[in-house]
Amino acid sequence: MTILTIIIALIVLSFATYYITKINNQVGAYTTVVVTLAALVIFLLEGDKLSGASSIGILRFSVTPLAWFFSIIMLIVYSMVAFFNPYWMKKILHPGAYNMLFLLSLAGTIGVFFAENFIVMFIFWEIVVWASMFIIPFGKSRTASVVYYAMSTFGSFTFLYAIFMLYANYGTFVIKDSLEAAKGDANIAIAAFILMLLAGFIKLGIFPFHIWLPMAHGNAPDTFSPILSGGLVKLGAFLTILITTLLPIHEVTKDQAYIFGVPILIYVLMIFGAISIVVGTLMAIKQDDAKKLLAYSSVANGGYILIGILLYDEMALSGALIHIFGHAIASATAFLTIAAVSYRTGTTKMSELGGMIHKMPITYVVYLMAIISMAGIPPMTGFISKWLLFQALADQGMFFIATTMFFGSIGSFLYVFRPLSVLFLGQLKPEHKTVKEAPIGMLIPMVILSGITLFYGVLPNSLVEYTAKIESALGFDKVIETSALVIQGNNGDLHAPLITGIFAFGFIIALIIFLIAPKSRKVGLMDTYTAGEFLYTPSLYHAGYAYYAPFERLYQKHPNIVALFAALVQKVKDFGKFIRFVFFSRWPGRGVMFIILTMILLMWGEKL
C-alpha cells in the first residue's frame, strides 16, 4: 500500500462521491463515512509498512513517524466527523460538493504530511486550502471564506518564496536535503525559516494572524468546524515542527544573544505564541456563540503548541505533539457536541439555549470530558501534555511565558465552563421541551472520541513512546524517557495511572456520599422563578447573560486588530477605485491624453 495509491484513491473517490450524492444524498454521505473509516483502518493496520515507493514525476512521498502520527490524528477526526454528515445533507445547499470537498481535503492533508519535496507539499497544501475554502460559505458567512483564503494564501506565498529561495541557493526541493543544506548560510536559513514559519503561524492562528479563525470556524457549517479546528490548523503545527527541527533553527541561531536559554529570535517568536494564548483566552471568555468561543480556544491552544515546538527540548516537543493529539480530539469533540445540540435545536448561540442536560445527557457527559481535557485536568490527555510543557518551561526558567501559560490554563477553564453551565445546566427553555437526545449515529463517534481522550489520559505511555520515536527520527539527541507506566520528567515523574486511580477513588467516595444522602426534591422552575413578577426582557435573566461581566469589564476597551486588517483592505480598494476613476473613463480625450503623456515621459526618459 503506497501513499500515492491512497491519495489517488481518495481523490477519485471524492469525485465519485459527488456523483453518488447527486443520486442520493444519504448514500453519498455514508460513502464518506465508509471511505474515511477504511483509510483509518488501512493506516492503523499498515503502520510502518506503508511505503512511499511509487511516485509520478515529482510527486514523491516519504514515510516518517511524524507524518504517520499526524495522519492518524487527521483520520480519526475526519472519520468521526463523517458520521455526522448524513444528518447535515438536507441543511446544506450543495450536498454533493460538500462530500466531494470533504474527501478532497482529506487527500490533501495526507499529501502534505507525506510529501518528500516542497513542491508536492505546496501542491497539497493549496488543495487543502481551496477544498476547505469552498465548504465554509455553505454556512453563515461568505466573507469568512475570502478572509480565510486571503490570509492562508499570504502564508502560502511566503512559503513558496522561501521554497524557491532555497532552491535557487541549494538546487534541491527535497525537504530534508534543502533544509539541511541551509545550515551553511545563517542569513538565508533565518530568512527561509521566518517566511515558512509565517505560513505555519497563519495556519495555526497565532497572533496577529488569528482573526480568520473565529470567522471561518465560527461560521462554517456545523459539521465542518470540527475538521477545521481539530484537523486543518494542525497543518501549521506540522510545518512548524518540520522547519524547527530539520533546519534546525537552534543551531543556525547559535550566534545570537540568548534569553532564558534560547536565542533571541526564538524567544521573540515564543512571545507571539504567548500573546495568542492571552488573546485567545480573553476573547473566548467574551463570546456568546459557542462555536466562536471554541474557535478562540483553538487560537489559545495554537499558542501552547507553538511554544512547545519552538523550545526544541525533548520534553517540550513531546508535550507539543501530545497536545496536538489531545487538542485535536477534544476540540473536535466539543464542536461535535455543539453540532449535535444545533441539530436538535437549530441554534448555537448560548443565550438562546439552556438546560440541555435534561434532554441530551450523553452529549453532556461527552462535552464534560472534552472540556476537562481542554482545561488540562487529569485523568484526560490534556493533562499529560500540559504537564510536559510546564516541566519543560520551568526547566528552562522561562517564567514570563510560563505565567502566560498558567493564565491560559486557568482562563481556559473559565471559558469552557461557560457553555457547560449555560447550555447544558440551567433552565430548559419551553420551546426546547420536545428536544430529543442526539441520534445514535452522532452519539457513536462522540463516545468513541471521549473514550480515546480518557484512555490516553490514563495510559499515556504508548503515546509518549511514539513521540520518542518521532523525536529520534527528527534527529534529537535525547528523547523523552518512559518506563512501563511512568513518564520521566526533569523535576519529577508522572505516574498517570496512579493519578487516575486517586481521581477515581475520590469520584467513588463522592458517588457513595451522593447515593447515601437524601435526594433533593424536583420543583418546576418557571412557577417560582419570577416570584409573580412579569418579565419584560427575559433575555436579561438568562443564566448566560453577561456571564463573566466583572472580568470582561477589565478589558472592555481592548484594541481590535480586525480593524487594522479591514483598514488595509479598504486602502487597497480605494487605490483601485482611484485608478479606475482616473484611467478608465468613457471619453476618448482622457485616454489620448494619457497616451501622449506617457509617450512624452518615455521619450524623455530614454533621452536621459
Binding site: G589, M593, I596, L597, M599, I600
Partner: protein, 226 residues
C-alpha cells in the same frame, strides 16, 4: 482651458520627437545607400512607374491588405447604416443647370478615372486614385439630383467580384507558379501599355473595387431614417 492643455501636450510630444529625430541620434545616414531595400526596388523596376512596381508587385500582399481595409470599412458603414432607405432631403431645391451639367461632366470624370487606373503602371495614379475619381463622379450625381439612387446591388456585385478575382489571381499564382500573387504573365517591354504582367489587371480590379466601395459608402451616408 482644456484645449490649451491639449495643444501644449501634443506640442511637447512633437517637439521631443523632432528634437530626437534631428539631433543626429537617429543616424539617418548610417546605412550605406546600396544596402537600403529601396535601392533594389529603384534598380529593378518591373514597370516604368516605380511606385506601382513596389505597390502591386513587390508588396502585392500589402495592397491586398489595404483593399481589405477599405472593404471592411465599407462593410462597417453598411452594418451601421444599412437599414436606411430614403434619401436625405437637401435644404435647397434641385438646380436644373447642376443636374444637366453633371450629366455632361459625369462621363468625362469617369473616363479620366478609368484612364488613371488603366495606365497606372505608366503614369502616376493607379487604382486607388482612379477608383476615388469614379466614386467622386457618383457623388456628383447624388449631389446634383435629390432623387438619384445608384444601383447599389450592382455595385456590391462588382465590388465582391473584383475582390474575389484579386484573391483568385493570387491563388492561381500558387497553382501555376510557385508563390502566392506571383506575377505569372509576361513582363513585356518597359513602357508599353501591355506590360508588367498582372500589374495593370490588378490595378483595374482595384480601381473598380474602390470606386464601387466609395459609391456604396456615399449611398449609405445619403440615406436617413424615415
Amino acid at each position: 482651458m482644456k484645449k490649451l492643455v491639449a495643444v501644449l501636450l501634443v506640442g511637447l510630444m512633437l517637439l521631443l520627437l523632432f528634437i530626437n529625430m534631428f539631433d543626429g541620434s537617429l543616424e539617418f545616414n548610417k546605412m550605406d545607400l546600396a544596402d537600403v531595400d529601396g535601392n533594389y526596388y529603384a534598380k529593378n523596376p518591373i514597370v516604368s512607374n516605380m511606385v506601382t512596381s513596389v505597390v502591386v508587385d513587390y508588396r502585392s500582399f500589402d495592397t491586398l491588405g489595404e483593399v481589405t481595409v477599405l472593404f471592411v470599412s465599407s462593410l462597417g458603414v453598411a452594418f451601421m447604416l444599412g437599414g436606411l432607405t430614403t434619401r436625405i432631403k437637401f435644404k435647397h431645391d434641385d438646380s436644373f443647370f447642376l443636374r444637366i451639367g453633371v450629366k455632361v461632366l459625369f462621363p468625362i470624370i469617369v473616363i479620366v478615372g478609368v484612364f488613371m487606373f488603366v495606365h497606372g503602371h505608366l503614369t502616376p495614379g493607379g487604382g486607388f486614385p482612379g477608383g476615388a475619381l469614379i466614386g467622386g463622379a457618383m457623388l456628383f450625381k447624388y449631389i446634383s439630383d435629390s432623387k438619384y439612387r445608384a444601383k447599389i446591388s450592382a455595385f456590391k456585385v462588382l465590388e465582391g467580384t473584383m475582390g474575389s478575382i484579386y484573391v483568385l489571381l493570387g491563388i492561381v499564382g500558387i497553382l501555376v507558379g510557385n508563390y502566392f500573387l506571383q506575377n505569372i504573365l509576361d513582363i513585356g517591354e518597359l513602357g508599353n501599355l501591355i506590360s508588367g504582367g498582372l500589374i495593370p489587371i490588378i490595378y483595374v480590379l482595384i480601381g473598380l473595387k474602390v470606386g464601387s466601395e466609395l459609391t456604396g459608402i456615399f449611398d449609405h451616408f445619403m440615406n436617413e431614417e424615415v
